[in-house]
Symmetry: C2
Subunit: 324 residues, 2 copies
C-alpha cells in the first residue's frame, strides 16, 4: 500500500474543525490513507466527533504557523505542523503533504524541508485557473522558481502536462509557452531558448501564447518562469477584482452576484495549488477550505503522488547535474 | 517655435475622416503645430471640409499599413505614411509622431525608423492604465524592449515618472518596481539588481509592487522589463474581459453596461501609449479614435516632446556606451 497523505490539521482559517473532517472523508469515501499532523488534543477531539478515533494516525506538533504569515519569507518554526508534516514526507513516511496554510509559507517550508526529487532541477507551483470556456488552464510555474533556465522550464512543462492529465483528466493536454507574441521566435532570450526544447516533449506543444490567453481556454497548460507566472497569477486576481469593482460602481449588478465571480478567481481557490518536483507532492488548499475541499485536496495529492509525475520528467528530459 | 507634431493621416479605423479633423482641432484649439502625412488627395479633401486648406502642411505618402497588420513583426513599406512620418521625425522636421495605427506596427517602425536618443539605452512603451481609485498608473515598459539590463529599467523608471508628470499631471510621482513580493530583495536576479538602482533616481521610489497592484492605484508608475510588461498588459485585458463575460453569463448585468467597463481596459484605449527614449516622441492612439482623441494625442505628443523627457534621463543616469 502507498504511503499515506500527510494532512496539516492546523492550516487554514477553520483549523482542525474542518481539516480533520476532510481527512476522515478522504479516508472513508475515497480510500485515501491519511495521517494528521498538529496539536494531538484538538485533533483527537475532532476525530471523536466523527467516531474516527483510532482510524487515523496522529503526529503531534505543538506550534501553528499563523495564516497571516504570508509570503515566501515566512519561516515555519521547527515544532510547527508545517515543518513536522514536511519532515514526515522527507523521511518517506508520507507520500504527499496537504495544507490549507498560506501558500507562501507552505511553498517555502516544503522546498526547504522536503527536498528536490532526483532528476528534477527545480520545483514548480501548478495552479488550475478556470477559463471562460468552462474548463481550466494549468499555470506553471506560479511562483516557486523565479530564475529558471530553459531546461527547468521544459521540466515545468512536463510537470504541468502531468497535472492536467492526473488532476483535470485531460487525456492529451496542449501546452503553450507564455510569451509576447504568438509567432515562433517571439519573446525574450529565455522564451526563445525554451521554445526550442518544447516540441520534443511528451505533450502537444501549441506554440507561444500571450497574456490574454491565460483565462481564454486557449491551451490546457501555460508554462512560464516563476517570476512571470507569479506576476500573472496576482494580476489575474487584481484585474478581475478591478473589473468587478467597476461593475459594482456602475450599479448594474449587485455585490452578491459579483462575489461569486470573484471567488472563482481568488488566487488560492482553484481547488489545490500543487508544488511539483519535490521528493513528495505538496498540495495547498485554500485557507477558507471546508472539509469537502480538504478531502478533494487529499485525493489530488494521492493521484499526483501515485501518478509518477517526477518519473515522467526523468524519462523525457536528460538533465545535466547543476550546482544548486 | 517647436517643430510640429507629425500626424499619420492614414492610421486608425476611420482614416483621414477623423485624423484630419483631430489635427485641425489640435492646431486651432490647443495651438499644436501639426503636419499631416498620407495620401495628399484624401487629406486635402478633408482639410477643405474643415475650411483648413493651407493651414496645415501635407506630406504625401502613397501606401497605407493595414490595421490588421498587427504585432511587432509588421514591416511598414517604404512609401507608407508610417515610414514617411517616422523619417520626418528622424530628420528633425517633426518633434513627435502621432498614429492611430496598430501599436505593434507603429512601435517596430518607429524603433527602426527614428532611432534612439543619445544617452538612452533602449526605448520603452508607456501606457496609462485606469485604476479602480479613479486615477491612473503608468505601466512602463509595456513591450518595446524584451531583454533589458537593470540600467535600462532604471531609465524606463525615469521616463515613466516624466510621463506621469507631463501627461497625467502628477507633481511628485511614486514609482514601484514590479516583482513577486513587496518586501525588499524579493524577485528575480533582474529585479534585485534593478532595485538597487532606483532609490537614487529623481522620483519617490515606493519599493516593490505585485501583479495585483497594477490596477489598484498603489503607485503612479509601475516599471518592469518589456517582456513582463507586455504579458501583464495583455493579461489585464484578458482578465477584465473574462470577468465581464462571467458576469454577463450570470445574467446579473446587461452587455451594454459591461461594454463600457471593457472599453476602459482595452489595451489600446488608454488615450495614447507613448514610445519614449527615441530621438522623437511617438504617441499611438487607439485604432478606433475619433477626432477629439487624435487631438488629445497631439497635445500629449507636444507636451512629451517639449518636456525634455530624454534630457531627464541624461541628467540622472550616466550610462556607459553599449553595443546595440
Amino acid at each position: 500500500m502507498a504511503e499515506p497523505v500527510v494532512v496539516d490539521a492546523m492550516g487554514g482559517d477553520h483549523g482542525p474543525a474542518e481539516t480533520v473532517g476532510g481527512a476522515v472523508t478522504a479516508l472513508r469515501e475515497h480510500g485515501v490513507p491519511v495521517v494528521l499532523v498538529g496539536r494531538a488534543g484538538e485533533i483527537l477531539r475532532e476525530l471523536a466527533r466523527h467516531d474516527a478515533a483510532g482510524e487515523i494516525d496522529v503526529v503531534h506538533a505543538d506550534e501553528v504557523v499563523p495564516m497571516n504569515e504570508r509570503g515566501a519569507g515566512a519561516v515555519a518554526s521547527v515544532g510547527s505542523s508545517l515543518r513536522v508534516g514536511c519532515e514526515l514526507v522527507r523521511q518517506g513516511a508520507g507520500s504527499a503533504f496537504v495544507s490549507a496554510g498560506s501558500t507562501g509559507a507552505v511553498v517555502s517550508c516544503a522546498i526547504r524541508g522536503i527536498g528536490r526529487a532526483q532528476s528534477v532541477l527545480r520545483p514548480a507551483l501548478a495552479i488550475a485557473l478556470p477559463s471562460v470556456t468552462g474548463g481550466a488552464t494549468v499555470l506553471i510555474d506560479a511562483g516557486a522558481t523565479s530564475d529558471p533556465t530553459p531546461e527547468m522550464i521544459a521540466q515545468f512543462a512536463v510537470l504541468g502536462a502531468s497535472y492536467a492529465q492526473l488532476v483535470l483528466g485531460v487525456a492529451d493536454p496542449s501546452v503553450g509557452l507564455l510569451s509576447i507574441g504568438s509567432e515562433p521566435g517571439k519573446g525574450n532570450r529565455l522564451t526563445r531558448r525554451t521554445e526550442e526544447l518544447l516540441p520534443a516533449l511528451p505533450f502537444r506543444f501549441h506554440g507561444n501564447v500571450e497574456g490574454h490567453d491565460v483565462l481564454a481556454g486557449t491551451v490546457d497548460v501555460i508554462v512560464t518562469d516563476g517570476f512571470t507566472g507569479n506576476v500573472v497569477l496576482k494580476n489575474v486576481e487584481g484585474s478581475v477584482r478591478a473589473a468587478l469593482t467597476l461593475v459594482a460602481q456602475s450599479g448594474v449588478a449587485g455585490p452578491e452576484a459579483l462575489r461569486e465571480v470573484a471567488r472563482r478567481y481568488d488566487p488560492e481557490s482553484h481547488g489545490g495549488a500543487a508544488l511539483l518536483g519535490l521528493s513528495g507532492t505538496v498540495v495547498v488548499a485554500h485557507g477558507s477550505s471546508r472539509a469537502p475541499t480538504i478531502a478533494r485536496a487529499c485525493v489530488v495529492a494521492r493521484d499526483l503522488a501515485g501518478g509518477g509525475v517526477v518519473s515522467r520528467v526523468r524519462d523525457h528530459l536528460t538533465v545535466e547535474p547543476v550546482i544548486s
